[in-house]
Symmetry: C2
Subunit: 129 residues, 2 copies
């Protein structure tokens, strides 16, 4: 299977969310044989629909929609599922290059110890400033 | 120095952000000899002011305000600094138990490789669902 990952960012009027999502997308692309694209829910482009369309010509058979959000919330539970037209099983079908391609919605990052470790490092950095 | 960390969450009408921030706060408390409290910008309590007040009786000499946000944005650049009354050096002074205590604002999490790794894991989990 040719797998695509659509990295989904919140979007912002300031440039930092887009920079973060694009940097993480590059790091995600380095981790496997996957085609990575980005999209944003609000305020930045491409929007989700454009993000799905951007897999045209890549030959992907399936796409993981990967939310770069720390936790579930209204954006991940309502807005993104609605935009992606997800079914109850958190999946959808989109058409790319005239072919039906499954879209599978991933979970947000969650309370992983690596995030706590990173946060603690940010606290230490602030104290040494 | 007795160090406090005020873990700052976004807040949400759904329970997940609060759960995430509280879980991460527990993990952060396990990493050092620090007094950890939580506060939320929106929709959940304690609010930031209450979060600072909750260090009463702990004997902290300084407090790191640690935003659990992936990237800078309007919340971290405008809303939180305003609520904490930060100066240009991203510091403030608050009064706790009649004593002046420095508040030092930390950076958000940022595009760390550990987050890209965790996101990739979430994509793999979605594919095996």
């Amino acid at each position: 299977m040719n797998t695509g990952i659509l990295v989904l960012g919140h979007g912002s009027t300031l440039p930092y969310n887009k920079e973060l999502v694009e940097t993480l997308s590059g790091m995600i692309a380095d981790q496997g044989d996957v085609v990575v694209r980005t999209a944003f829910l609000n305020m930045n482009k491409p929007v989700l629909k454009q993000g799905l369309e951007s897999f045209a010509g890549t030959g992907v058979d399936r796409i993981v929609a990967l939310p770069i959000f720390l936790a579930h919330g209204v954006h991940t539970m309502e807005d993104i599922p609605k935009e992606l037209n997800l079914n109850e099983d958190k999946k959808a079908v989109t058409e790319i290059d005239g072919k039906s391609v499954e879209v599978i919605y991933a979970e947000p990052l969650g309370a992983d110890p690596c995030i706590a470790k990173l946060a603690y490092k940010r606290a230490e950095e602030a104290l040494s400033r």
